[in-house]
Amino acid sequence: MTRAELRRSTGLGLPPRRQFRGRLFAVGCLLASLLPVVVGALLLGALLRQGAQMDEPQALIQRLAASGADGLLGSVAGSLWLVSLSIFIAMPLGVGAAVHLEGPRRTGRSLLALNMASLAAVPSVLYGIVGLELFVRALHLGHSLVAAAMTLALLVMPIVAVAARAALRAVPDELREAGYALGATRWQVTRQVVLPAALPGIFSGVILAIARAFGEAAPLLLVAGLAVSSSESTTLGDPEHVLPLHVFELLARPHEAAQADAIAGVVVLLGTLMVLSTWATRLRHRHERRRDG
């Protein structure tokens, strides 16, 4: 689909006033599109209010501050470590795969692309099994933060790669041809012309990947080895102290104060994600505006 086609809207707006049933249907559709947003907001509000009722806010803040490195703050720091490590691994791999796939006429490209698309559909727990077998057991990294980061890197690599492919494809061919006309080699064109032009698109994909890695809990459940006693801590960091698992573990505890703490963790998690997604959206908008003139 060309850019002009994308920009042209196909929607015709509301039906004319005399088509009463059409209008009624349109209103029904509007309500249906608002319903999930309203329900989601209500449920989240109910969760937060329940957390506020469970515990005195001041007592909660004092407890969170007192628990220090073991509690919420420690798990936020752990999450930041984990996510930056995994992005550090996933970004070169994903962008490299995308550059390779978008290169001139590769054999078996469609198969590689199909493979990438199917990987994006693999449920995230299965990545946990892969991480457990490959990194924890085969590479003897133990139930460590590094193993968890490598697992998450595998999980978000397809996200980065898909976004990077789209961004690379959006770079106009004229730019590449100009580079070749000036006598640049293919590697020089890729590095100095195509990648800088595609950078905003790649970057917004990376932010999406960060958001995904930040909230993901299922593969960590396996890699962190919650069943194994956590006393055998390794020098490579402890993956149990990350935000999603912190929330999960608090939830598993019976008493109410732990649940209030879990909800405090949810607030931090959602706040971080809000910032990340707004950032990604703004980046994409700016990129599109610059591209379309």
Binding site: L35, A97, S118, A121, V122, L269
Partner: protein
């Protein structure tokens, strides 16, 4: 250049490793190890919960997509669509918390026969999570229908509703089915909501008002109790097959053209 080759090969290696590990782990001394009550209850439980979620999410998602694609003004669409997609970005652990602490107790209070940890609870929350998948992809499919087709229908005197039913929806049908399949695939692979909310009934009952055990919750609960046993690899393999099958169907359909083309 070699680095590029390596990074392009990484996904292939990853998928080989995934399949290989699952197949190797599932066999113990030459015998395929099944979960305690067989594989079938888990698969049926997965289908039940994901199907229920789809039954709730698909009608609402379709209507929302029709609004976004057909009736909405561009300015309203610009804020409504990201708002809907925000629902898909909420971490699943948060959904799990909502299911256990808000939806479950509330359902139990209104319908005493429904337990707090039940298939219905999980399906309700799951439907909220997969709804943006349905609405966004269906919206894309509707927008891919050429404007000329709509204009032709209107020129022949069709009302807007009739145009939608007779021309636009059939033309977008493959894309819509693909959207539904992708949503089901996402729902089946979701772990945290299933583990927290669907409960853990070992007998494998299929009453949605009670706890239902699914493939993902089997693996999720297993991770908490003991180091992985072979039965969990079998469940993981089944999960991989089921979700890749639905994804493959969706992948085939997305490209296909509907009627009038």
């Amino acid at each position: 250049m070699i680095a590029l080759r390596v990074s392009a090969a990484a996904p292939v290696l990853l998928s080989v490793a995934l399949v290989g590990l699952l197949v190797r782990g599932a066999w113990s001394e030459g015998v395929l190890v099944l979960p305690a009550h067989g594989l079938l209850p888990l698969v049926l439980g997965t289908l039940l919960v994901a199907g229920l979620a789809a039954v709730i999410a698909v009608p609402v998602g379709l209507l929302a997509a029709i609004y976004l694609g057909e009736f909405s003004s561009p300015s309203r669409r610009r804020w409504l669509k990201p708002l809907l997609e925000l629902l898909a970005g909420v971490p699943t652990i948060v959904y799990g918390l909502i299911a256990v602490m808000v939806v479950g107790p509330w359902l139990h209070r209104v319908f005493p026969s429904v337990q707090v940890h039940s298939g219905v609870t999980a399906a309700l929350v799951l439907s909220l999570m997969v709804l943006p998948t349905v609405s966004s992809l269906t919206d894309d499919a509707l927008r891919a229908v050429p404007r000329e087709l709509r204009e032709a229908a209107l020129a022949l005197g069709a009302s807007r509703l009739r145009m939608l039913r007779v021309v636009v929806l059939p033309a977008a049908a493959p894309g819509i089915v693909a959207a539904v399949m992708l949503a089901v695939s996402r729902a089946m692979g979701e772990t945290m909501i299933m583990t927290l909310a669907a409960g853990d009934l070992p007998s494998g009952g299929l009453d949605p008002r009670q706890a239902v055990k699914t493939l993902t919750s089997h693996v999720g609960h297993g991770a908490l109790v003991e180091p992985l046993d072979a039965a969990m690899y079998t469940a993981g393999g089944a999960l991989l097959v089921v979700s890749l099958l639905t994804h493959a169907v969706a992948h085939r359909l997305v490209r296909r053209r509907g009627r009038w083309s």
